[in-house]
Structures are given as C-alpha cells and as structure tokens.
C-alpha cells in the first residue's frame, strides 16, 4: 500500500486528541449542593460498569474516526489487478504520437490522426499528478510537461510534413523513461505503424520498460504518391511510389505536370515506376513546375514541386589549357559533344593559372612543385586572396555544393589558404565549396575557382569516377557561374529560392519523404522485433495502460468507515445516557 499524499499522515498525531481531551477534562469540577446525593450515589454505583465501557467505546470510536479521516486524506492506494477506474503507481510515461504525413490518410471518412490523437488523449488523461510525462511527435522531440499541458498539445497537433523514425523514437523514449526513478515505466506508441516507419536496426528497450503499441487498422488503404521529380535532358522524370496493392485497386494513375500553373504534359503511371514528361522549349531562367497525381486517401503526397534552371552552355576557350591535364580535356570533349559547352568563348577557362581575359578561371595546382609560387603570384595578380600552400593530407572530399563527388578520395593536394592573416575571405564572392579533412579543397574566390588537387588520377580518384564528367559539367555550367545546386529537403511542399544580390543562384524544394506514401503496416512480429512492443488492439491497449501498476484509491472506503464510526459514536453518545 502506498499513499498519494503521504505528508497528510502527519495528521495522525491528531489521533491523540480524544485521549488528551479526556486527560485535560480531569480538572477540578465545580461544586454544588445536592440533597438527594444518596440517589445519585446509588445511580452511579449501579451504572459504573456501563459508564466505563461507554467511555472506553467513545474514546476508541473518536480515535478511530480521526485516524480514518487522516488516512483518507493521505489517499491510500491498494494494489489491484484491474486497471479500469483505478489509480496507479507513479509512472514515467512517454507517448509517441505519430503525426507524420501518413497520419493524414482518410479512413472511413475520418483522418487517421484523429484516431491516434484519441488514443494519446486516453493515455494522458489517465495519468496522475505523480506521473512523469513526455509527448513525442513526428519531429522526434520529447516534450515534458504536465498532463494538462500535454493534452493541450495533443489537441493542437496536426499532420506534420516530417517523417518519424519509430525505431529511433522508441529507443529515445525508452531511455528517457528508464532514467526516471519511478515504480513503473511505459512507452505508448500511437502510430499507423507503417512498415517504412521502422528504421534500420532495432530499439533497445531497457528492462522494466513496457512498450505498448496501438495496432493499426487491419487494412491500410492503397496509396500512391509522387516520390520525386527532376528535370534532365529537357524532360521531367517523375517517380511514382506507393503500396504495391494500389495498382490492383486503383490501376494506373494520371500524372499531370504544370509549369507556372499551365499544364504542359500528362502521363499514366503505377507505383514503383518512373514516367517522363517532355518539357516544352523554355527560355533561360529559373522554372518552377508542379507534379499532380489523381487524388486518393492520402492527399499530402499527391503533388510535388519541381525547379530547374534553363541556361545556355558555358563558352570555353577554343583550346583547353594544357595545364588542366588530359582528363579535363577528355571530359570537356564529351560535354562539347553533348552541347553542354561551346568552344571559342571566354566565359570559363580551366588551367594551372588564371586565364587572361576570361570571365571565370578554374585553377588547378601546377604539376611541378616549383611552379607553385608562380601560380600564386598569378592568382594574386588576378586579385585573388587565396593561394596554394603546403601539401595537405589525403582524405575524402566533402561538401554540399557538389554532392556527386562527396566521398571520393583525394591522395595528393595542396592546402588552400587565404593570404591575409589566415583570413579566408569574408566577402560575398568567397566561398569554400568542398573540403578534405576539414580543409578547403575547392574555393570560389571572386572570379577564380581554386582546386587543391590536380584533376588527375595521381592526385585524386575523381577522374576515374563516373561522377567526373557531371562534376566538370557542374563546375563550368553552374559553380563557375556562382550557382548553388537545387536541393531537396523534407518539409511541407514548397520552393525557396536562394538569391545573391539581384541574382537567383539556387533553390530548395521541400517535399515529403517518399517512404510516407507506402501505408503498408508492419507485421506484429516486425513490431515486436524492432520496437520490442506489445501490439494491442484498442480495447487491449486501453486495458493494458498502467495495468502493471494498478492501484485502487482506498479513501472512499475509509471515509465510509469514518462516517460509520461517526454514526456509531453519535448513537453511543446519545443512546447510552
């Protein structure tokens, strides 16, 4: 037995009040003459035994009355097997409410999120003041708070654009509750339990932590969505994703591409396929399109934004600089055949020193170490603030600007350093685009792009990699022009453009994680294996909550006993005179 308000037990000292009053009443009573004392003495003699019993009984009843009231005020909790209508021992509880995009699916005319919110509310409503509570949403953040605060949060929850990695969330939640020194620890997973929501690995559930998962509906709706969309070679490539059963249920879906609000193409697609829709001839500039799929139960993944840049091919010098090396010359030849670059211009040069009269120079280190000083002087003469320094250590390439070459090994390089007191340039025209071992490897310095390694297999694995030609393409067509890559980020579908001055130099396309489109629920075995959770239907979930630590409040029974004692005391006090 435990007490909800143990401090109230201090009041047990009041149980001594009846005895103290009895003792305090032993004062000298007032005196009075009473002639028929012989009658009184006779009466007292005849009733002495009854009076003693009465006094003892009244003392016991009054003491018991106070003890019962104090115990009731302390709210004693008795262990019970039943969880319904009972209190529970102090519990550390984390409720994971999966409001990821898939929770927006409409099942039987009702958003799945409403059902999940109802279950989460049920768990939080049954929490007591002595419980420690957290609420984890799709953003993965564990919100600690009172029951009322978390209930308000649940009420305000809407479908999020973020995907929830249930495995990571359950692991974090179990660690959180396990750290609390409370008698019971539970994690309630209220999710549609998508198969794809279970990330890699498995959640390590500490001993003593119960993980309860609300079972999803037996049949998930067949869904399809736009997984990805990109523009390549004058056409939009659109990936359609979804549950495999969607084809049988709905057949092929109609995909529409709109550019600036105008429909430019339409195609039929099934989940798992990629369709291409040809783009019309568009003028130079940034273009934004929208891919729209026929509506189904999950509307959030039925459209996706698309951004691409239409620009003329870069114009290079008529003959490549011999200092660039043979691999660069070969790549430029390929790009020229693909009409990605043109010869005879002065827009971009690639060599071991800045090209005179060209707009942008891509400078690689000279093959001879003795020529480094000469190259640095040429860079300085061009107004550059960066220069080649001592040889650096080998390492992989890293950097977000050129993701296609990330991870490729660099075996030989020069460190790139800013000339003035180690400052690497703080102007708008200076940017570190890629690093090796945390040191600059590719730097944009005004109109110069400085590489720390020669584009040769003796220096780096890049020329031998498939990404080499696209790298050269991006280098002369995009990076040399100061443009950032078009990035895709998980979030509410929208497009954000990156500008520099009056120029648009990049764009970020926000969209849903394609894995959210597959609504197939995980099997109970998978849930148990990965999350270590008991998969329970709604009735069982309600019954299992706090069931391991069920407590019944005994204060009502004690108050009844106190009332009974008071009635008996009243009867004894009045009827036994």
């Amino acid at each position: 037995m435990t007490f909800l308000h143990p401090l109230a037990l201090v009041g047990l000292a009041a149980a001594a009040i009846p005895a103290l009053l009895h003792l305090l009443e032993r004062r000298v009573p007032p005196e009075a003459e009473f002639p028929p004392l012989r009658y009184l003495s006779e009466t007292e003699r005849q009733n002495a035994r009854r009076l003693k019993l009465r006094h003892l009984l009244l003392l016991m009843l009054r003491t018991a009355l106070i003890v019962l009231i104090v115990l009731a005020a302390a709210r004693p909790l008795f262990p019970t097997q039943s969880s319904s209508g009972s209190l529970h021992a102090p519990t550390a509880l984390a409720v994971i409410l999966d409001n990821s995009p898939s929770s927006g699916v409409v099942v039987d005319g009702r958003p799945a999120l409403e059902r999940l919110k109802g279950a989460a509310r049920g768990s939080l409503t049954r929490a007591a003041a002595s419980d420690r509570l957290w609420l984890v949403l799709a953003d993965g953040v564990a919100r600690a708070g009172t029951r009322e605060a978390l209930l308000a949060t649940v009420d305000s929850v809407s479908v999020s654009a973020r995907r929830l990695d249930l495995t990571a969330a359950v692991g974090a939640a179990t660690r959180l509750v396990d750290a609390e020194p409370l008698p019971a620890r539970e994690v309630h997973v209220v999710s549609d339990l998508q198969r794809t929501a279970l990330g890699t690995g498995r959640a390590e559930v500490p001993r003593g932590v119960r993980v309860l998962a609300l079972a999803p509906p037996s049949q998930a709706p067949a869904n399809r969505g736009v997984g990805a969309a990109r523009v390549t070679a004058g056409a939009a490539a659109i990936d359609i994703v979804g549950a495999p059963g969607a084809v049988a249920e709905h057949g092929a879906a109609s995909v529409t591409l709109r550019v600036r609000g105008r429909e430019v193409g339409r195609a039929l697609a099934v989940p798992g396929s990629t369709v291409g829709i040809a783009l019309p001839s568009l003028g130079p500039g940034w273009w934004m399109g929208e891919v729209v799929l026929d509506a189904d139960e999950l509307r959030a993944d039925d459209h996706r934004w698309l951004v691409w840049r239409v620009a003329p091919p870069a114009r290079l010098a008529a003959s490549p600089s011999p200092g660039a090396g043979p691999f660069v010359a070969a790549a430029l030849a390929v790009l020229e055949d693909a009409q990605r670059v043109h010869r005879g211009g002065t827009e971009v040069t690639i060599g071991d020193r800045p090209g005179a009269g060209t707009l942008v120079s891509v400078v690689v280190p000279p093959s001879e170490r003795a020529l480094i000083g000469q190259a640095n002087r040429a860079l300085a003469a061009r107004g550059g603030r960066w220069r080649f320094a001592a040889a650096g250590t080998p390492g992989p390439i890293a950097g977000p600007v050129l993701p296609t070459i990330a991870g490729l090994q660099v075996t030989r390089r020069y460190r790139l350093e800013a000339e003035r007191d180690g400052r690497r340039g703080t102007g708008d025209d200076t940017m570190v685009l890629a690093t090796v071992n945390g040191e600059p490897w590719l730097v944009r310095d005004g109109r110069v792009l400085l590489l720390g390694s020669r584009l040769d297999t003796g220096w780096t694995a890049l020329p031998a990699a498939p990404a080499f030609v696209p790298f050269i393409d991006a280098l002369v067509n995009r990076v040399a022009r100061g443009e950032a890559p078009i990035s895709e980020v998980e979030g509410a579908p929208r497009v954000e453009f990156l500008t520099r001055g009056a120029d648009t130099v990049g764009a970020t396309v926000y969209g849903l994680d394609p894995r959210e489109s597959d609504l197939t629920p995980a099997s109970p075995a998978l849930v148990h294996d990965v999350l270590g959770a008991e998969l329970l239907d709604e009735a069982a979930f309600v019954a299992a909550r706090f069931a391991g630590a069920g407590r019944r409040d005994g204060s009502g029974l004690l108050l009844m006993l106190a009332l009974l004692s008071a009635l008996v005391e009243l009867a004894v006090a009045t009827r036994t005179r």
Partner: protein, 318 residues
C-alpha cells in the same frame, strides 16, 4: 367526596397586590392554585396560608378531613357537585326541592403536623422556586388553619437531628399563630433523624389522631417506617407528604460537577448528562418504594413537587 372545581386563570399577572383575599379580589379566583413561588411573594406565612385556605375552601363543599363521628346540624340548598348520599330524600318527596343535610363533628380531631427542618430541606433547585422548607412551612400553616377552622386540635413538631419545636395540639384561639410562630422560629437544621422525632411524637399523642409528616424523606427509610408503623399501630391516621424539588427529580447541570450532600461531607463527581436517565429511574424507584411501603402499612403517601400549587397539594389530602 365531592370533586373540586379548579377555575382557570388567565395569567398570574392579573392578580393585584394581595390585601384581603375574598373581599378585595373577587375576580381573582383560587390563589391556592397559583405557582407557590408567586404566592409566597404576597407576604409571610400567615398571609399566604390564609389566602391559600380561603381559595381552597371556596372550591370544596365539605370538610376535607372527617372526624370519627358526625352530628346533623342543618339543611342547605343542593348545589351541583354535592354527593347524592347527603340529599334529604324526604324533603325532596314532600316539597320537590333539593336539600342536602350538613353534619358537624361531634368529636374534634387531634392532628399533629411534623415538619422536617433539616439542612436538606433548605434547598431549591432554582432561584425562582421556593425551598422545600419554605414550601413545607406554608403548606403546614395552611393545613393547620383548615384543621383549626374545623375545630380540630392541631399541633406542630419541627425536627432535624433532634426535635426543634413542639407546639401541643390545641383548638383554642391563637393556636394557629403559635403554630406559625413555631414554624418561623425553627431554624434550618443539620442532619435528619426522623425516627427520633417520631418517637417523641408518640409520647405527645396520647389520644388517637392524625399525623401529617411533611419531609423530603432523605433519611433511612426502614428506620423511619418503623416509627411510622408504630404510630399506625397506636391507631393514628398517618399521612406522609414527600416533598421534592423538581431539580431533584431530574438531573441536570454542567458537563461535570461535584455534588455535595448538605447534611454530610459526602460528595460525588458526576456528569449529569450521562446519568440523567438512570438517575430519573432511581428517583422513580425510590418514590415507588416509599409509596409501596406506606401502602403496605396503611399510611397515606403523597409525592409533592415544590412547584405544585398549594391548593393542589391540599387537594391530595381531601
């Protein structure tokens, strides 16, 4: 015995200052039926007793106490309430008129009134009530006046631990004043030893007569009954008036109190509320015991509370 008609009083405040009972207050009926404490405020024992007797006699139609033999004196007109056995049937048959015959005692009664003057009698349960002694004095005086008006020789003995005053039974004029003086001159005593007074009484009552004991009976019952039995054996008619203050009949008071016997050092601490019911039962048992014992020995016993109007108490004797 004819019944007594008790007039209804609207309020005791209707009574003016007492001067002369019948003449000055023709509309103030039956002062003997007023609250004894109210009546006592009218004056001393003599005035109160006289007023009580006036009121009392106006409500009855014959002597409350009869002698051993009676002699016809005169006729008077029948009044409702008269006993039919005294109706003169011959006159009724002859003249068709209702007359009753009246008789006069041939032999005067010798009555002795014993008044308990012990310490316990000087007690009242409330300031608004007479003490038992005051009540007893007035009742005894009224009773003596009635007896003397019937030309019965009436005497008085007051006693506590010893016999305090003795007024031999006489019927001559001034006897009532001597009786009253005897009552007034007897101070409140200490303990009560009734049997001693009763033994002394036997020597004072040579002829058979009436003995009226007015007491709270807070003494040993068996010893007192022995003496009363002896008087009864000697042929006396014995009447016991058991006086009790209403505060003695019911126990009340503060939550806890030490009650002390005024006649001894004995005391007891009680909680009145706890014992009230049991005490009432004890008092009832005690009264019943006195009543049964008196009845067994041919002694008339009457229980009188001190808030009982004097007329009602006298009516008990009628």
């Amino acid at each position: 015995m004819t019944g007594i008609t008790i007039p209804r009083l609207s309020s005791t405040r209707d009574i003016p200052l007492f001067i002369s009972f019948r003449e000055s207050m023709p509309d103030v009926q039956r002062i003997d039926l007023l609250d004894p404490a109210e009546v006592a405020r009218f004056g001393g024992i003599e005035i109160v007793a006289r007023g009580v007797v006036e009121g009392f006699l106006s409500g009855i139609h014959r002597s409350p106490l009869r002698g051993f033999s009676v002699e016809f004196t005169e006729h008077r007109a029948y009044q409702p309430g008269d006993e039919l056995r005294y109706l003169d049937w011959k006159i009724l048959a002859r003249a068709d008129r209702l007359f009753v015959k009246q008789f006069e005692q041939e032999t005067n009664l010798r009555a002795m009134i014993l008044v308990d003057a012990s310490r316990s009698m000087a007690w009242s349960g409330a300031p608004s009530r007479l003490t038992k002694r005051a009540y007893a004095d007035r009742l005894a005086a009224a009773l003596a006046l009635i007896l003397l008006r019937q030309r019965d020789a009436t005497g008085l003995i007051t006693f506590d631990e010893v016999v305090r005053e003795v007024v031999p039974a006489r019927v001559k004029s001034g006897q009532w004043a001597r009786l009253v003086r005897g009552l007034v001159d007897t101070p409140d005593g200490q303990g009560t030893v009734a049997e001693a007074a009763l033994v002394r009484l036997t020597s004072l009552l040579a002829r058979r007569g009436l003995v009226v004991l007015v007491s709270d009976l807070l003494f040993d019952r068996e010893l007192a009954l022995t003496a009363l039995r002896y008087l009864r054996h000697r042929g006396h008619q014995v009447i016991v008036l058991h006086l009790m203050d209403p505060g003695e009949a019911e126990l009340s008071g503060p939550p806890e109190v030490r009650y002390r016997d005024p006649e001894s050092a004995a005391s007891v601490v009680v909680r009145p509320r706890e014992l009230a019911r049991a005490y009432q039962a004890t008092v009832r048992r005690e009264i019943d015991a006195w009543r049964m014992a008196c009845r067994r020995h041919g002694i008339a016993y009457y229980h009188v509370l001190t808030d009982m109007p004097f007329g009602m108490a006298l009516r008990l004797l009628a």
